[in-house]
């Protein structure tokens, strides 16, 4: 028997994986009595930072505080509060740090506008530099000898043989 080719093994692996994934997804589906509300909770939670594990959103985190805060968000939504009101509730307690999208306010001006200012400054410098170089480099026409040399190079493809 011939040894199995690597791609055959990969195909087998792929089949096995695709058989496993849907089964797990079936299990992990959250139990929600109100899918619309749950969707809203999830959407807002994605904008909020979990303070325990700071590089995770409230939606992703499994920290206990994140679970509690998601519950708070859910409860307040059930009570009819708007997203803005809930964000105000959370920032009053945890500060702007809970927001993944920093607010535009004087402290964050540098953050928001800094890159554009740097880009603009770069463009100005580049423009000035190019302009200065254009002024410095003078157009000198080729002499007759240079012209014939150039012609020879162009005709043969490389200049080395004729030189």
């Amino acid at each position: 028997m011939k040894p199995a080719r690597p791609y055959q093994f990969l195909v087998l692996l792929f089949i096995l994986c695709s058989a496993v994934v849907p089964a797990r997804a079936e299990q992990a589906r959250p139990v929600a009595d109100d899918p619309v509300l749950e969707e809203r909770v999830l959407n807002l939670s994605r904008e909020l930072r979990c303070l325990v594990c700071q590089n995770e959103t409230l939606a992703d985190s499994r920290a206990e505080l994140a679970v509690d805060l998601r519950n708070q968000v859910r409860e307040q939504m059930k009570a009819g509060k708007s997203d803005e009101e809930i964000i105000a509730f959370l920032t009053a307690r945890y500060g702007d740090f809970v927001l993944y999208r920093p607010r535009v306010r004087p402290v964050t001006y540098v953050l928001w506008f800094g890159p554009f200012i740097i880009l603009l400054a770069g463009l100005v410098l580049l423009f000035k530099y190019v302009k200065r170089r254009r002024d410095v480099i003078v157009d000198t026409p080729l002499s007759a000898e240079e012209r014939s040399q150039a012609k020879a190079i162009l005709d043969t493809g490389t200049g080395k043989e004729t030189a």
Binding site: L51, V52, Q54, E64, D68, R93, Y94, G95, F97
Partner: protein, 173 residues
């Protein structure tokens, strides 16, 4: 001269990054500093038939220490709290966060009780009102019920001597 510009820019970047490295990203500045302490009314740990409210502390400087038996660092902090209690500098009230009552009582019996009293925050709701995200946390509240200082993490002897005690003395004047 023109070669100095990148060097200066680079050094500037180094200074910024060096400052950044000395800062602890886990210490999130609380928006509650210099704001009135959130009110609460919770059952006392030792006797759940009695309640305790932050309002009762008007006219006094006090510490509100958030602790829990599941909190590993709280055990580390505990001796320091006992020391503060012994010094009589400021009364400490405990907010026992998301604990079983028996566990909390057993913990205090084992390690000693530095608190005038503790209240049970079973669902962590008051903790959220105080913006707590990791026990232990300690709030220093002044006579007008305003939060003047927040310590995230354990109170170390250094923090107590250099930051908290001077402020306690000043607020008690």
């Amino acid at each position: 001269m023109r070669y100095l510009i990148p060097l200066v820019l680079f050094l500037g970047l180094v200074v910024f990054l060096a400052i950044g490295l000395t800062r602890d990203p886990h210490e999130v500045p609380s928006p509650l500093i210099n704001k009135p302490a959130p009110t609460f009314k919770l059952a006392q740990l030792a006797d759940p038939s009695k309640t305790f409210s932050a309002e009762e502390m008007r006219g006094k400087v006090w510490l509100l220490n958030v602790w829990a038996t599941w909190c590993f660092v709280c055990r580390e902090e505990h001796p320091m709290l006992l020391e503060i209690q012994r010094s009589g500098a400021v009364p400490i009230y405990g907010l026992d966060s998301k604990d079983k009552r028996e566990d909390a009582i057993a913990w205090l019996r084992e390690l000693g009780d530095p608190y005038v009293l503790s209240v049970s925050d079973f669902d962590g709701r008051v903790g959220i009102d105080y913006g707590v995200y990791g026990a232990p946390e300690t709030f220093l509240i002044d006579k007008n019920g305003v939060i003047r200082f927040k310590r995230i993490g354990p109170i170390t002897p250094d923090v107590w001597q250099k930051e908290m005690l001077p402020l306690v003395k000043e607020l008690n004047k």
